[in-house]
Symmetry: C3
Subunit: 158 residues, 3 copies
């Protein structure tokens, strides 16, 4: 049986998403079985790049218009500088022939990495299945994560 790797992607930041996909793609290439659990701000990484999602209630509307998400809208955890730092980081990645987040998502999916979206966070934030990119394998909670992680060789919270 293949060794398992589980990654909780809690953060919705571009740099941490890069680290997560780099680990996921690397582990897949080594024949390991990888699950990525997207939760809380991390759900932004796998949201569609679209207009703010529709949600009920004034507070959910406010939250979801600030916290739009989508792979192209993730901030840097440092030096974001209203987007300038993030834009620079994108350029530097391009210079180094490093794939974009969208490209990494595609590579990860092709390599068989499982994407799981956390239903608890979705419930709190008012996010629905339609708000995500295709490629999400399942919608589940903490029990699903733990069932995987207890078999994992490498489990990280990112």
């Amino acid at each position: 049986m293949a060794e398992k790797v589980t990654l909780i992607v809690f953060s919705g930041e571009m740099d941490k998403a890069l680290a997560a996909f780099n680990l996921a793609i690397g582990a897949s290439a080594m024949g390991m079985e990888v699950s990525m659990f997207f939760t809380f701000w991390g759900l932004n990484v796998i949201k569609k790049n679209q207009r703010p999602i529709k949600s009920r209630g004034i507070m959910r509307k406010m939250l979801n218009s600030m916290n739009r998400g989508g792979s192209k809208r993730l901030p840097l955890s440092r030096f974001h500088m209203l987007g300038l730092g993030k834009w620079m980081m994108g350029k530097l990645m391009g210079d180094a022939k490093f794939p974009t987040i969208d490209e990494q998502i595609a590579i990860a999916k092709e390599a068989g990495v499982k994407f799981i979206a956390c239903t608890t966070s979705m419930g709190i934030m008012g996010i629905t299945r339609d708000d995500f990119i295709t490629g999400v394998d399942s919608f589940a909670g903490v029990a699903t994560y733990l069932a995987d992680a207890r078999e994992g060789k490498v489990n990280l919270f990112i």
Copy 2:
């Protein structure tokens, strides 16, 4: 012997505390044995909701008056907005019938989750045992954490 889960709660942020308790309570429900190691800003999660703690020295006084902590005073890691974002998140959690941090602490304790406060951080920050809620099982350092984690099936740094 029950499988072990260890969680280092380093961050004093509300959203990360939610993730930590969600994991801890979920793992307990699955029959796993959970230890939560609260360290650095994470100590705020298990501080009493009280006035700033008394500490000696002008710098400790300043630090502890800014960094008061207590379950009701944890900021959000994003969109805190001087408390507005945090207040909204609390409302959304309530709407979704999701327990508050205080309720989650109570559920975790009832489920037998062990709370350990890091003595090294307490020493640096000038925090004493009296500053914590009841329910802290022990006060210990890195050796105690590692003795647990080396037996752990799932070890996360949150």
Copy 3:
């Protein structure tokens, strides 16, 4: 064979670096074999305390002049306050006879902790081997990390 501990140091923050070295030194003292993988902002922890590194291209120059790094220049993740909070934290650590980051680096190296710098991040950011302190054992990517972590008893992302 000694039990292995692997730590990914992603964050370039002083408080998280303290946590990482505390774990690394503690695990070494317990006879465990520790590898620290410095990546992204975490590379700052093991950069020389020198003038901004020379790099090619206007954007790398800008990034590397903002993101100078070096053990003495790491910000606090909270209450940094333009350096005041960080200075206070240094004082409190001194009061508690807690070693500085530089001292912890020296202790970790003496204890045999392995330092690995992430070549992927170095490539994106335009950082060269000369920019690091002596004591970096190797320069490697995600495959090297995973080969270690799959054997690890405790693997953390900090």
